[in-house]
Symmetry: C2
Subunit: 315 residues, 2 copies
Protein backbone atom coordinates (compact mmCIF):
# COMPACT_ATOMS: atom_id res chain seq x y z
CA UNK A 1 0.00 0.00 0.00
CA UNK A 2 1.25 3.44 -0.93
CA UNK A 3 1.62 5.87 1.98
CA UNK A 4 1.92 8.92 -0.25
CA UNK A 5 -1.02 11.21 0.50
CA UNK A 6 0.11 14.61 -0.78
CA UNK A 7 2.23 16.44 -3.33
CA UNK A 8 3.30 19.96 -4.24
CA UNK A 9 2.94 21.77 -7.56
CA UNK A 10 5.21 24.81 -7.84
CA UNK A 11 5.03 27.01 -10.94
CA UNK A 12 7.90 29.50 -11.05
CA UNK A 13 7.04 32.65 -13.00
CA UNK A 14 9.01 35.80 -13.71
CA UNK A 15 7.11 37.78 -11.03
CA UNK A 16 5.51 35.28 -8.66
CA UNK A 17 5.91 31.65 -7.73
CA UNK A 18 2.53 29.89 -7.68
CA UNK A 19 2.31 27.08 -5.17
CA UNK A 20 -0.25 24.30 -4.83
CA UNK A 21 -0.71 21.67 -2.13
CA UNK A 22 -2.53 18.63 -3.56
CA UNK A 23 -3.79 15.26 -2.46
CA UNK A 24 -2.19 12.33 -4.28
CA UNK A 25 -5.56 12.00 -6.06
CA UNK A 26 -5.06 15.44 -7.57
CA UNK A 27 -7.38 17.52 -5.43
CA UNK A 28 -6.07 21.05 -4.89
CA UNK A 29 -6.22 21.58 -1.11
CA UNK A 30 -4.59 24.98 -0.94
CA UNK A 31 -2.81 27.46 -3.16
CA UNK A 32 -0.65 30.48 -2.40
CA UNK A 33 2.01 32.67 -4.00
CA UNK A 34 5.43 33.97 -3.07
CA UNK A 35 7.38 36.66 -4.94
CA UNK A 36 10.10 35.60 -7.41
CA UNK A 37 13.36 37.09 -6.16
CA UNK A 38 15.40 37.54 -9.30
CA UNK A 39 18.38 39.29 -7.71
CA UNK A 40 21.81 37.57 -7.79
CA UNK A 41 20.94 35.74 -11.01
CA UNK A 42 17.93 34.11 -9.40
CA UNK A 43 20.10 32.18 -6.96
CA UNK A 44 17.69 32.73 -4.05
CA UNK A 45 14.75 31.07 -5.82
CA UNK A 46 15.52 27.40 -5.03
CA UNK A 47 15.92 28.10 -1.31
CA UNK A 48 12.75 30.25 -1.27
CA UNK A 49 10.81 27.36 -2.82
CA UNK A 50 12.30 24.86 -0.36
CA UNK A 51 11.43 27.18 2.55
CA UNK A 52 7.80 27.65 1.53
CA UNK A 53 7.39 23.87 1.12
CA UNK A 54 9.00 23.22 4.51
CA UNK A 55 6.73 25.81 6.14
CA UNK A 56 3.62 24.24 4.60
CA UNK A 57 4.70 20.75 5.75
CA UNK A 58 5.13 22.07 9.26
CA UNK A 59 1.87 24.03 9.20
CA UNK A 60 -0.06 20.93 8.12
CA UNK A 61 1.67 18.72 10.67
CA UNK A 62 2.54 16.07 8.07
CA UNK A 63 5.76 14.10 7.51
CA UNK A 64 7.90 13.79 4.37
CA UNK A 65 7.08 10.11 3.99
CA UNK A 66 3.49 11.12 3.22
CA UNK A 67 4.58 13.35 0.31
CA UNK A 68 4.98 11.98 -3.22
CA UNK A 69 7.22 14.89 -4.11
CA UNK A 70 7.45 18.29 -5.77
CA UNK A 71 6.58 19.12 -9.37
CA UNK A 72 8.30 22.22 -10.65
CA UNK A 73 7.46 24.48 -13.61
CA UNK A 74 10.25 26.67 -15.00
CA UNK A 75 9.87 29.51 -17.55
CA UNK A 76 12.52 28.15 -19.94
CA UNK A 77 13.59 24.95 -21.71
CA UNK A 78 13.94 21.94 -19.38
CA UNK A 79 15.33 18.57 -20.52
CA UNK A 80 13.97 15.16 -19.49
CA UNK A 81 16.59 14.87 -16.75
CA UNK A 82 15.73 18.21 -15.13
CA UNK A 83 18.46 20.27 -16.78
CA UNK A 84 17.43 23.88 -17.37
CA UNK A 85 19.26 24.87 -20.55
CA UNK A 86 18.97 28.55 -19.82
CA UNK A 87 16.36 30.70 -18.24
CA UNK A 88 16.84 34.38 -19.04
CA UNK A 89 13.58 35.22 -17.22
CA UNK A 90 15.00 34.13 -13.87
CA UNK A 91 18.67 34.81 -14.56
CA UNK A 92 19.58 31.11 -14.46
CA UNK A 93 22.29 29.61 -16.65
CA UNK A 94 22.56 25.85 -17.23
CA UNK A 95 21.64 24.10 -13.96
CA UNK A 96 20.00 20.82 -13.01
CA UNK A 97 17.07 22.16 -11.02
CA UNK A 98 15.76 18.68 -10.23
CA UNK A 99 18.98 17.72 -8.43
CA UNK A 100 19.23 21.09 -6.67
CA UNK A 101 15.66 20.95 -5.37
CA UNK A 102 15.90 17.29 -4.32
CA UNK A 103 18.94 18.24 -2.27
CA UNK A 104 17.18 21.23 -0.68
CA UNK A 105 13.81 19.57 0.02
CA UNK A 106 14.74 15.94 0.62
CA UNK A 107 11.78 15.06 -1.62
CA UNK A 108 11.53 13.58 -5.13
CA UNK A 109 11.36 16.37 -7.73
CA UNK A 110 10.21 16.47 -11.36
CA UNK A 111 10.79 19.59 -13.43
CA UNK A 112 9.25 20.79 -16.68
CA UNK A 113 8.89 23.85 -18.84
CA UNK A 114 6.03 26.08 -17.66
CA UNK A 115 4.07 25.91 -20.92
CA UNK A 116 4.50 22.13 -21.01
CA UNK A 117 3.29 21.64 -17.43
CA UNK A 118 0.30 23.90 -18.14
CA UNK A 119 -0.55 21.64 -21.10
CA UNK A 120 -0.27 18.59 -18.84
CA UNK A 121 -2.52 20.28 -16.27
CA UNK A 122 -5.15 21.04 -18.89
CA UNK A 123 -5.01 17.43 -20.10
CA UNK A 124 -5.47 16.16 -16.58
CA UNK A 125 -8.12 18.43 -15.10
CA UNK A 126 -8.95 21.06 -17.73
CA UNK A 127 -9.96 21.48 -21.37
CA UNK A 128 -8.16 18.31 -22.44
CA UNK A 129 -9.70 16.11 -19.76
CA UNK A 130 -10.30 12.57 -20.97
CA UNK A 131 -7.60 12.79 -23.64
CA UNK A 132 -4.00 11.57 -23.54
CA UNK A 133 -2.63 13.17 -26.74
CA UNK A 134 -3.02 16.90 -26.48
CA UNK A 135 -1.41 19.93 -28.10
CA UNK A 136 -1.97 23.09 -26.12
CA UNK A 137 -1.31 26.58 -27.40
CA UNK A 138 -1.29 29.51 -25.00
CA UNK A 139 -2.08 32.90 -26.56
CA UNK A 140 -0.93 35.61 -24.18
CA UNK A 141 1.63 38.39 -24.46
CA UNK A 142 3.59 35.74 -26.34
CA UNK A 143 2.61 32.36 -27.75
CA UNK A 144 3.55 29.24 -25.80
CA UNK A 145 2.79 25.62 -26.33
CA UNK A 146 2.94 22.14 -24.90
CA UNK A 147 2.85 18.73 -26.52
CA UNK A 148 1.45 15.83 -24.48
CA UNK A 149 1.85 12.37 -26.04
CA UNK A 150 0.48 9.22 -24.39
CA UNK A 151 -0.26 11.27 -21.27
CA UNK A 152 3.29 12.55 -20.83
CA UNK A 153 5.07 15.81 -21.65
CA UNK A 154 7.24 15.69 -24.77
CA UNK A 155 10.12 17.80 -23.45
CA UNK A 156 12.47 17.30 -26.37
CA UNK A 157 16.19 16.70 -26.51
CA UNK A 158 17.03 20.33 -25.68
CA UNK A 159 13.81 20.99 -23.77
CA UNK A 160 12.44 22.92 -26.74
CA UNK A 161 9.60 20.67 -27.91
CA UNK A 162 6.29 22.54 -28.01
CA UNK A 163 7.96 25.89 -28.79
CA UNK A 164 5.00 26.56 -31.01
CA UNK A 165 5.30 30.34 -30.82
CA UNK A 166 8.52 30.08 -32.81
CA UNK A 167 7.13 28.18 -35.78
CA UNK A 168 7.96 30.13 -38.95
CA UNK A 169 4.79 31.39 -40.63
CA UNK A 170 6.02 34.16 -42.93
CA UNK A 171 9.67 33.73 -43.84
CA UNK A 172 9.61 36.93 -45.93
CA UNK A 173 8.10 39.12 -43.21
CA UNK A 174 11.33 40.57 -41.82
CA UNK A 175 9.39 43.45 -40.20
CA UNK A 176 7.74 41.01 -37.78
CA UNK A 177 10.72 40.64 -35.46
CA UNK A 178 10.52 37.98 -32.75
CA UNK A 179 11.92 38.24 -29.22
CA UNK A 180 14.21 35.31 -30.09
CA UNK A 181 15.87 37.28 -32.88
CA UNK A 182 14.02 35.49 -35.67
CA UNK A 183 11.16 36.90 -37.71
CA UNK A 184 7.74 35.93 -39.04
CA UNK A 185 7.15 33.44 -36.21
CA UNK A 186 3.64 32.49 -35.06
CA UNK A 187 4.04 34.71 -32.00
CA UNK A 188 4.15 37.82 -34.22
CA UNK A 189 0.64 37.10 -35.50
CA UNK A 190 -1.21 35.13 -32.82
CA UNK A 191 -0.15 36.70 -29.51
CA UNK A 192 -2.13 39.58 -27.98
CA UNK A 193 0.70 41.85 -29.12
CA UNK A 194 0.67 40.32 -32.59
CA UNK A 195 -3.08 40.81 -32.97
CA UNK A 196 -2.71 44.51 -32.11
CA UNK A 197 0.21 44.79 -34.54
CA UNK A 198 -1.88 43.25 -37.33
CA UNK A 199 -4.84 45.52 -36.50
CA UNK A 200 -2.73 48.69 -36.68
CA UNK A 201 -1.18 47.55 -39.94
CA UNK A 202 -4.55 46.79 -41.49
CA UNK A 203 -6.11 50.09 -40.37
CA UNK A 204 -3.14 52.01 -41.75
CA UNK A 205 -3.29 50.19 -45.10
CA UNK A 206 -6.55 51.73 -46.29
CA UNK A 207 -9.47 54.00 -45.33
CA UNK A 208 -12.15 51.31 -44.98
CA UNK A 209 -14.67 52.35 -42.33
CA UNK A 210 -14.27 50.46 -39.05
CA UNK A 211 -15.51 50.98 -35.52
CA UNK A 212 -11.94 50.16 -34.41
CA UNK A 213 -10.91 53.62 -35.72
CA UNK A 214 -12.86 55.29 -32.89
CA UNK A 215 -10.53 53.77 -30.27
CA UNK A 216 -7.57 55.66 -28.94
CA UNK A 217 -5.61 52.48 -28.29
CA UNK A 218 -6.53 49.01 -29.54
CA UNK A 219 -6.25 45.78 -27.54
CA UNK A 220 -6.67 42.19 -28.70
CA UNK A 221 -9.93 42.10 -26.74
CA UNK A 222 -11.20 45.12 -28.70
CA UNK A 223 -10.64 43.28 -31.98
CA UNK A 224 -12.82 40.37 -30.80
CA UNK A 225 -15.47 42.62 -29.23
CA UNK A 226 -15.82 44.72 -32.40
CA UNK A 227 -15.90 41.55 -34.53
CA UNK A 228 -18.73 40.16 -32.39
CA UNK A 229 -20.55 43.50 -32.82
CA UNK A 230 -20.33 43.06 -36.60
CA UNK A 231 -17.42 45.26 -37.68
CA UNK A 232 -16.03 43.96 -40.99
CA UNK A 233 -12.40 44.96 -40.44
CA UNK A 234 -12.40 43.34 -37.00
CA UNK A 235 -13.92 40.19 -38.49
CA UNK A 236 -11.24 40.16 -41.20
CA UNK A 237 -8.62 40.36 -38.44
CA UNK A 238 -10.15 37.44 -36.55
CA UNK A 239 -10.22 35.46 -39.79
CA UNK A 240 -6.56 36.29 -40.41
CA UNK A 241 -5.72 35.10 -36.89
CA UNK A 242 -7.68 31.91 -37.53
CA UNK A 243 -5.74 31.37 -40.73
CA UNK A 244 -2.35 31.60 -38.98
CA UNK A 245 -3.40 29.39 -36.08
CA UNK A 246 -5.32 26.92 -38.23
CA UNK A 247 -2.34 26.45 -40.53
CA UNK A 248 0.15 26.17 -37.65
CA UNK A 249 -1.99 23.62 -35.79
CA UNK A 250 -2.55 21.57 -38.95
CA UNK A 251 1.22 21.50 -39.52
CA UNK A 252 1.72 20.39 -35.90
CA UNK A 253 -0.85 17.62 -36.45
CA UNK A 254 1.16 16.43 -39.47
CA UNK A 255 4.04 15.79 -37.05
CA UNK A 256 2.37 14.27 -33.96
CA UNK A 257 -1.34 13.68 -34.88
CA UNK A 258 -2.93 14.47 -31.46
CA UNK A 259 -6.54 13.89 -30.35
CA UNK A 260 -7.35 17.44 -29.37
CA UNK A 261 -6.07 21.01 -29.43
CA UNK A 262 -6.57 23.10 -26.28
CA UNK A 263 -6.42 26.88 -26.68
CA UNK A 264 -5.54 28.90 -23.60
CA UNK A 265 -4.08 32.24 -22.47
CA UNK A 266 -5.74 35.64 -22.22
CA UNK A 267 -6.63 35.79 -25.93
CA UNK A 268 -8.66 32.57 -25.58
CA UNK A 269 -11.19 34.43 -23.43
CA UNK A 270 -12.65 35.54 -26.79
CA UNK A 271 -14.26 32.08 -26.78
CA UNK A 272 -16.12 30.43 -29.65
CA UNK A 273 -15.43 33.17 -32.21
CA UNK A 274 -11.74 32.27 -31.90
CA UNK A 275 -12.24 28.48 -31.92
CA UNK A 276 -14.50 28.74 -34.98
CA UNK A 277 -11.98 30.84 -36.92
CA UNK A 278 -9.16 28.37 -36.11
CA UNK A 279 -11.24 25.29 -36.93
CA UNK A 280 -12.43 26.71 -40.27
CA UNK A 281 -8.88 27.26 -41.51
CA UNK A 282 -7.50 24.08 -39.92
CA UNK A 283 -9.83 22.01 -42.10
CA UNK A 284 -9.21 23.97 -45.28
CA UNK A 285 -6.11 22.46 -46.84
CA UNK A 286 -4.85 19.06 -45.68
CA UNK A 287 -4.99 15.28 -45.84
CA UNK A 288 -8.20 13.74 -44.60
CA UNK A 289 -6.57 11.62 -41.86
CA UNK A 290 -5.60 14.84 -40.05
CA UNK A 291 -8.85 16.76 -40.46
CA UNK A 292 -11.80 16.97 -38.08
CA UNK A 293 -9.76 17.21 -34.87
CA UNK A 294 -11.35 18.57 -31.69
CA UNK A 295 -10.68 22.13 -30.50
CA UNK A 296 -11.33 23.05 -26.87
CA UNK A 297 -10.84 26.09 -24.67
CA UNK A 298 -8.55 25.80 -21.65
CA UNK A 299 -10.43 25.91 -18.34
CA UNK A 300 -7.83 26.13 -15.56
CA UNK A 301 -6.49 29.62 -16.25
CA UNK A 302 -3.43 30.45 -14.17
CA UNK A 303 -3.81 27.25 -12.14
CA UNK A 304 -2.98 25.01 -15.12
CA UNK A 305 0.72 25.13 -14.19
CA UNK A 306 0.39 23.93 -10.60
CA UNK A 307 -1.99 21.15 -11.68
CA UNK A 308 0.49 20.00 -14.33
CA UNK A 309 3.35 20.17 -11.84
CA UNK A 310 1.44 17.91 -9.46
CA UNK A 311 0.57 15.53 -12.30
CA UNK A 312 4.24 15.04 -13.23
CA UNK A 313 4.77 13.39 -9.85
CA UNK A 314 1.64 11.31 -9.78
CA UNK A 315 2.28 9.98 -13.27
CA UNK B 1 15.99 -17.35 -20.85
CA UNK B 2 14.36 -16.17 -24.05
CA UNK B 3 14.03 -18.86 -26.73
CA UNK B 4 13.23 -16.37 -29.50
CA UNK B 5 15.99 -16.58 -32.11
CA UNK B 6 14.41 -15.08 -35.23
CA UNK B 7 11.88 -12.61 -36.56
CA UNK B 8 10.38 -11.47 -39.86
CA UNK B 9 10.24 -7.96 -41.30
CA UNK B 10 7.65 -7.62 -44.10
CA UNK B 11 7.34 -4.31 -45.95
CA UNK B 12 4.21 -4.25 -48.15
CA UNK B 13 4.58 -1.90 -51.11
CA UNK B 14 2.24 -1.10 -53.98
CA UNK B 15 4.16 -3.35 -56.40
CA UNK B 16 6.22 -5.79 -54.35
CA UNK B 17 6.28 -7.11 -50.79
CA UNK B 18 9.81 -7.00 -49.39
CA UNK B 19 10.53 -9.74 -46.89
CA UNK B 20 13.40 -10.08 -44.41
CA UNK B 21 14.37 -12.97 -42.15
CA UNK B 22 16.35 -11.67 -39.16
CA UNK B 23 18.04 -12.97 -36.04
CA UNK B 24 16.60 -11.63 -32.80
CA UNK B 25 19.81 -9.57 -32.59
CA UNK B 26 18.80 -7.76 -35.78
CA UNK B 27 21.09 -9.44 -38.30
CA UNK B 28 19.48 -9.76 -41.72
CA UNK B 29 19.94 -13.43 -42.68
CA UNK B 30 18.00 -13.42 -45.91
CA UNK B 31 15.76 -11.16 -47.97
CA UNK B 32 13.39 -11.83 -50.84
CA UNK B 33 10.38 -10.30 -52.58
CA UNK B 34 6.95 -11.44 -53.66
CA UNK B 35 4.57 -9.50 -55.94
CA UNK B 36 1.77 -7.45 -54.37
CA UNK B 37 -1.51 -8.88 -55.67
CA UNK B 38 -3.86 -5.91 -55.58
CA UNK B 39 -6.86 -7.61 -57.22
CA UNK B 40 -10.09 -8.07 -55.20
CA UNK B 41 -9.33 -4.96 -53.11
CA UNK B 42 -6.01 -6.42 -51.97
CA UNK B 43 -7.76 -9.24 -50.11
CA UNK B 44 -5.16 -11.83 -51.21
CA UNK B 45 -2.25 -9.96 -49.65
CA UNK B 46 -2.57 -11.17 -46.02
CA UNK B 47 -2.67 -14.84 -47.09
CA UNK B 48 0.25 -14.32 -49.50
CA UNK B 49 2.32 -12.89 -46.66
CA UNK B 50 1.32 -15.72 -44.32
CA UNK B 51 2.23 -18.28 -47.01
CA UNK B 52 5.68 -16.86 -47.70
CA UNK B 53 6.43 -16.80 -43.95
CA UNK B 54 5.21 -20.39 -43.52
CA UNK B 55 7.34 -21.49 -46.48
CA UNK B 56 10.45 -19.82 -45.03
CA UNK B 57 9.84 -21.42 -41.62
CA UNK B 58 9.61 -24.82 -43.27
CA UNK B 59 12.65 -24.22 -45.50
CA UNK B 60 14.76 -23.26 -42.49
CA UNK B 61 13.51 -26.18 -40.42
CA UNK B 62 12.68 -23.96 -37.43
CA UNK B 63 9.65 -23.94 -35.13
CA UNK B 64 7.27 -21.09 -34.28
CA UNK B 65 8.44 -21.00 -30.67
CA UNK B 66 11.80 -19.76 -31.91
CA UNK B 67 10.22 -16.77 -33.70
CA UNK B 68 9.63 -13.45 -31.93
CA UNK B 69 7.02 -12.50 -34.51
CA UNK B 70 6.30 -10.54 -37.66
CA UNK B 71 6.74 -6.80 -38.17
CA UNK B 72 4.61 -5.40 -40.94
CA UNK B 73 4.94 -2.16 -42.92
CA UNK B 74 1.82 -0.86 -44.69
CA UNK B 75 1.67 2.02 -47.24
CA UNK B 76 -1.05 3.95 -45.40
CA UNK B 77 -1.93 5.30 -41.94
CA UNK B 78 -1.76 2.65 -39.18
CA UNK B 79 -2.91 3.29 -35.60
CA UNK B 80 -1.10 2.08 -32.47
CA UNK B 81 -3.42 -0.94 -32.24
CA UNK B 82 -2.77 -2.13 -35.79
CA UNK B 83 -5.82 -0.56 -37.42
CA UNK B 84 -5.23 0.49 -41.01
CA UNK B 85 -7.42 3.55 -41.47
CA UNK B 86 -7.44 3.23 -45.23
CA UNK B 87 -4.92 2.14 -47.78
CA UNK B 88 -5.85 3.26 -51.28
CA UNK B 89 -2.53 1.88 -52.60
CA UNK B 90 -3.53 -1.70 -51.75
CA UNK B 91 -7.31 -1.31 -52.01
CA UNK B 92 -7.83 -1.88 -48.28
CA UNK B 93 -10.54 -0.14 -46.30
CA UNK B 94 -10.50 0.03 -42.50
CA UNK B 95 -9.11 -3.29 -41.22
CA UNK B 96 -7.07 -4.41 -38.23
CA UNK B 97 -4.11 -5.94 -40.04
CA UNK B 98 -2.39 -6.94 -36.79
CA UNK B 99 -5.31 -9.16 -35.75
CA UNK B 100 -5.74 -10.58 -39.26
CA UNK B 101 -2.07 -11.50 -39.58
CA UNK B 102 -1.84 -12.95 -36.06
CA UNK B 103 -4.77 -15.19 -36.95
CA UNK B 104 -3.17 -16.28 -40.24
CA UNK B 105 0.40 -16.79 -38.97
CA UNK B 106 -0.11 -17.83 -35.36
CA UNK B 107 2.71 -15.41 -34.51
CA UNK B 108 2.79 -12.06 -32.68
CA UNK B 109 2.43 -9.18 -35.18
CA UNK B 110 3.24 -5.48 -35.00
CA UNK B 111 2.15 -3.16 -37.80
CA UNK B 112 3.25 0.33 -38.76
CA UNK B 113 3.10 2.82 -41.61
CA UNK B 114 5.82 2.16 -44.21
CA UNK B 115 7.49 5.58 -43.86
CA UNK B 116 7.42 5.23 -40.06
CA UNK B 117 9.00 1.77 -40.08
CA UNK B 118 11.66 3.01 -42.52
CA UNK B 119 12.47 5.78 -40.03
CA UNK B 120 12.71 3.21 -37.23
CA UNK B 121 14.99 1.05 -39.40
CA UNK B 122 17.29 4.03 -40.11
CA UNK B 123 17.40 4.83 -36.38
CA UNK B 124 18.33 1.26 -35.54
CA UNK B 125 20.85 0.30 -38.20
CA UNK B 126 21.14 3.24 -40.59
CA UNK B 127 21.79 6.99 -40.71
CA UNK B 128 20.23 7.54 -37.28
CA UNK B 129 22.22 4.82 -35.54
CA UNK B 130 23.06 5.73 -31.96
CA UNK B 131 20.12 8.13 -31.64
CA UNK B 132 16.68 7.54 -30.12
CA UNK B 133 14.86 10.73 -31.22
CA UNK B 134 14.90 10.89 -34.99
CA UNK B 135 12.85 12.63 -37.65
CA UNK B 136 13.27 11.05 -41.06
CA UNK B 137 12.14 12.61 -44.30
CA UNK B 138 12.05 10.53 -47.47
CA UNK B 139 12.36 12.49 -50.71
CA UNK B 140 11.17 10.30 -53.56
CA UNK B 141 8.32 10.59 -56.05
CA UNK B 142 6.47 11.98 -53.03
CA UNK B 143 7.66 13.15 -49.62
CA UNK B 144 7.21 10.79 -46.67
CA UNK B 145 8.28 11.03 -43.10
CA UNK B 146 8.61 9.25 -39.80
CA UNK B 147 8.91 10.53 -36.25
CA UNK B 148 10.77 8.35 -33.73
CA UNK B 149 10.58 9.51 -30.11
CA UNK B 150 12.39 7.71 -27.29
CA UNK B 151 13.22 4.90 -29.72
CA UNK B 152 9.61 4.24 -30.73
CA UNK B 153 7.43 5.19 -33.69
CA UNK B 154 5.01 8.04 -33.04
CA UNK B 155 2.07 6.67 -35.02
CA UNK B 156 -0.46 9.27 -33.98
CA UNK B 157 -4.10 8.98 -33.03
CA UNK B 158 -5.22 8.43 -36.65
CA UNK B 159 -1.93 6.92 -37.80
CA UNK B 160 -1.03 10.20 -39.51
CA UNK B 161 1.91 11.42 -37.41
CA UNK B 162 4.98 12.04 -39.55
CA UNK B 163 2.92 12.98 -42.62
CA UNK B 164 5.60 15.54 -43.32
CA UNK B 165 4.93 15.70 -47.05
CA UNK B 166 1.59 17.32 -46.27
CA UNK B 167 2.89 20.22 -44.20
CA UNK B 168 1.58 23.46 -45.70
CA UNK B 169 4.44 25.59 -47.04
CA UNK B 170 2.74 28.03 -49.44
CA UNK B 171 -0.93 28.52 -48.57
CA UNK B 172 -1.38 30.90 -51.51
CA UNK B 173 0.15 28.58 -54.12
CA UNK B 174 -3.07 27.02 -55.42
CA UNK B 175 -1.27 25.90 -58.62
CA UNK B 176 0.81 23.45 -56.62
CA UNK B 177 -1.89 20.79 -56.22
CA UNK B 178 -1.19 17.87 -53.90
CA UNK B 179 -2.27 14.26 -54.44
CA UNK B 180 -4.34 14.59 -51.26
CA UNK B 181 -6.43 17.38 -52.74
CA UNK B 182 -4.67 20.15 -50.83
CA UNK B 183 -2.15 22.61 -52.25
CA UNK B 184 1.20 24.19 -51.46
CA UNK B 185 2.29 21.17 -49.36
CA UNK B 186 5.97 20.29 -48.85
CA UNK B 187 5.64 17.45 -51.35
CA UNK B 188 5.01 19.94 -54.16
CA UNK B 189 8.45 21.50 -53.63
CA UNK B 190 10.71 18.83 -52.15
CA UNK B 191 9.81 15.60 -53.98
CA UNK B 192 11.62 14.59 -57.18
CA UNK B 193 8.49 15.65 -59.05
CA UNK B 194 8.36 18.94 -57.16
CA UNK B 195 11.99 19.74 -57.94
CA UNK B 196 11.33 19.24 -61.66
CA UNK B 197 8.20 21.40 -61.41
CA UNK B 198 10.16 24.19 -59.75
CA UNK B 199 12.93 23.89 -62.35
CA UNK B 200 10.54 24.19 -65.29
CA UNK B 201 8.80 27.15 -63.65
CA UNK B 202 12.08 28.92 -63.03
CA UNK B 203 13.41 28.33 -66.55
CA UNK B 204 10.15 29.61 -68.04
CA UNK B 205 10.16 32.74 -65.86
CA UNK B 206 13.14 34.41 -67.56
CA UNK B 207 15.90 33.97 -70.16
CA UNK B 208 18.83 33.63 -67.79
CA UNK B 209 21.47 31.36 -69.34
CA UNK B 210 21.55 27.89 -67.80
CA UNK B 211 23.06 24.57 -68.82
CA UNK B 212 19.70 23.02 -67.81
CA UNK B 213 18.22 24.56 -70.98
CA UNK B 214 20.24 22.13 -73.13
CA UNK B 215 18.33 19.16 -71.70
CA UNK B 216 15.31 17.71 -73.47
CA UNK B 217 13.75 16.56 -70.21
CA UNK B 218 14.89 17.54 -66.72
CA UNK B 219 15.13 15.20 -63.72
CA UNK B 220 15.81 16.04 -60.08
CA UNK B 221 19.22 14.40 -60.48
CA UNK B 222 20.00 16.78 -63.41
CA UNK B 223 19.33 19.77 -61.16
CA UNK B 224 21.88 18.55 -58.60
CA UNK B 225 24.42 17.48 -61.25
CA UNK B 226 24.28 20.86 -62.99
CA UNK B 227 24.48 22.66 -59.65
CA UNK B 228 27.62 20.69 -58.76
CA UNK B 229 29.05 21.63 -62.18
CA UNK B 230 28.54 25.32 -61.30
CA UNK B 231 25.33 26.31 -63.10
CA UNK B 232 23.77 29.29 -61.32
CA UNK B 233 20.13 28.50 -62.03
CA UNK B 234 20.60 24.92 -60.82
CA UNK B 235 22.29 26.24 -57.68
CA UNK B 236 19.40 28.65 -57.12
CA UNK B 237 17.02 25.68 -57.37
CA UNK B 238 19.01 23.65 -54.83
CA UNK B 239 18.98 26.67 -52.53
CA UNK B 240 15.21 27.01 -52.95
CA UNK B 241 14.80 23.31 -52.08
CA UNK B 242 17.03 23.82 -49.04
CA UNK B 243 14.87 26.73 -47.98
CA UNK B 244 11.64 24.69 -48.09
CA UNK B 245 13.15 21.70 -46.32
CA UNK B 246 15.12 23.77 -43.80
CA UNK B 247 12.00 25.70 -42.82
CA UNK B 248 9.82 22.56 -42.63
CA UNK B 249 12.37 20.68 -40.51
CA UNK B 250 12.85 23.66 -38.19
CA UNK B 251 9.06 23.83 -37.70
CA UNK B 252 9.01 20.10 -36.97
CA UNK B 253 11.78 20.62 -34.41
CA UNK B 254 9.64 23.30 -32.70
CA UNK B 255 7.06 20.54 -32.08
CA UNK B 256 9.15 17.49 -31.07
CA UNK B 257 12.79 18.71 -30.72
CA UNK B 258 14.60 15.58 -32.02
CA UNK B 259 18.33 14.77 -31.90
CA UNK B 260 18.88 14.24 -35.60
CA UNK B 261 17.25 14.52 -39.01
CA UNK B 262 17.81 11.67 -41.46
CA UNK B 263 17.25 12.44 -45.15
CA UNK B 264 16.47 9.49 -47.41
CA UNK B 265 14.79 8.58 -50.70
CA UNK B 266 16.10 8.85 -54.25
CA UNK B 267 16.63 12.63 -54.05
CA UNK B 268 19.00 12.15 -51.09
CA UNK B 269 21.52 10.47 -53.39
CA UNK B 270 22.55 14.05 -54.25
CA UNK B 271 24.49 13.86 -50.97
CA UNK B 272 26.25 16.71 -49.20
CA UNK B 273 25.06 19.45 -51.55
CA UNK B 274 21.52 18.69 -50.37
CA UNK B 275 22.39 18.37 -46.68
CA UNK B 276 24.33 21.64 -46.79
CA UNK B 277 21.44 23.53 -48.41
CA UNK B 278 18.98 22.21 -45.82
CA UNK B 279 21.27 22.91 -42.88
CA UNK B 280 22.00 26.47 -44.02
CA UNK B 281 18.32 27.41 -44.10
CA UNK B 282 17.41 25.38 -41.01
CA UNK B 283 19.73 27.55 -38.94
CA UNK B 284 18.63 30.85 -40.47
CA UNK B 285 15.56 31.92 -38.52
CA UNK B 286 14.77 30.31 -35.18
CA UNK B 287 15.27 30.10 -31.42
CA UNK B 288 18.72 29.03 -30.32
CA UNK B 289 17.56 25.94 -28.38
CA UNK B 290 16.46 24.38 -31.67
CA UNK B 291 19.44 25.31 -33.84
CA UNK B 292 22.56 23.28 -34.57
CA UNK B 293 20.79 19.91 -34.97
CA UNK B 294 22.51 17.05 -36.83
CA UNK B 295 21.59 16.17 -40.40
CA UNK B 296 22.48 12.72 -41.78
CA UNK B 297 21.88 10.81 -44.98
CA UNK B 298 19.91 7.56 -44.82
CA UNK B 299 22.07 4.49 -45.46
CA UNK B 300 19.74 1.50 -45.74
CA UNK B 301 17.98 2.41 -49.01
CA UNK B 302 15.06 0.10 -49.77
CA UNK B 303 15.96 -2.19 -46.86
CA UNK B 304 15.07 0.45 -44.23
CA UNK B 305 11.49 -0.83 -44.12
CA UNK B 306 12.27 -4.48 -43.35
CA UNK B 307 14.81 -3.44 -40.71
CA UNK B 308 12.23 -1.18 -39.06
CA UNK B 309 9.60 -3.93 -39.22
CA UNK B 310 11.93 -6.31 -37.41
CA UNK B 311 12.79 -3.65 -34.85
CA UNK B 312 9.12 -3.14 -33.91
CA UNK B 313 9.07 -6.71 -32.59
CA UNK B 314 12.39 -6.66 -30.83
CA UNK B 315 11.56 -3.42 -29.05
Amino acid sequence: MDMKKYCFGIDIGGTTIKCGFFTAQGELLEKWEIPTRKEDKGSKIPQDVADTIAAKIQEKGIVKDEIAGVGLGVPGPVGEDGTVHQCANLGWGIINIKNIMEELTGLPVQAGNDANVAALGEMWQGGGRGFSDVVMVTLGTGVGGGVILDGRIRAGVCGAAGEIGHIIMEEEDTDAVCGCGGHGHLEQYASATGIVRMAKKKLAADDAPSSLRTLETITAKDVFDHAKAGDQTANDLVDMLGRYLGMALYNIAAVVDPQVFVIGGGVSRAGDILLNAIEKHYNENGISALLGKEFRLATLGNDAGIFGCARMLLD
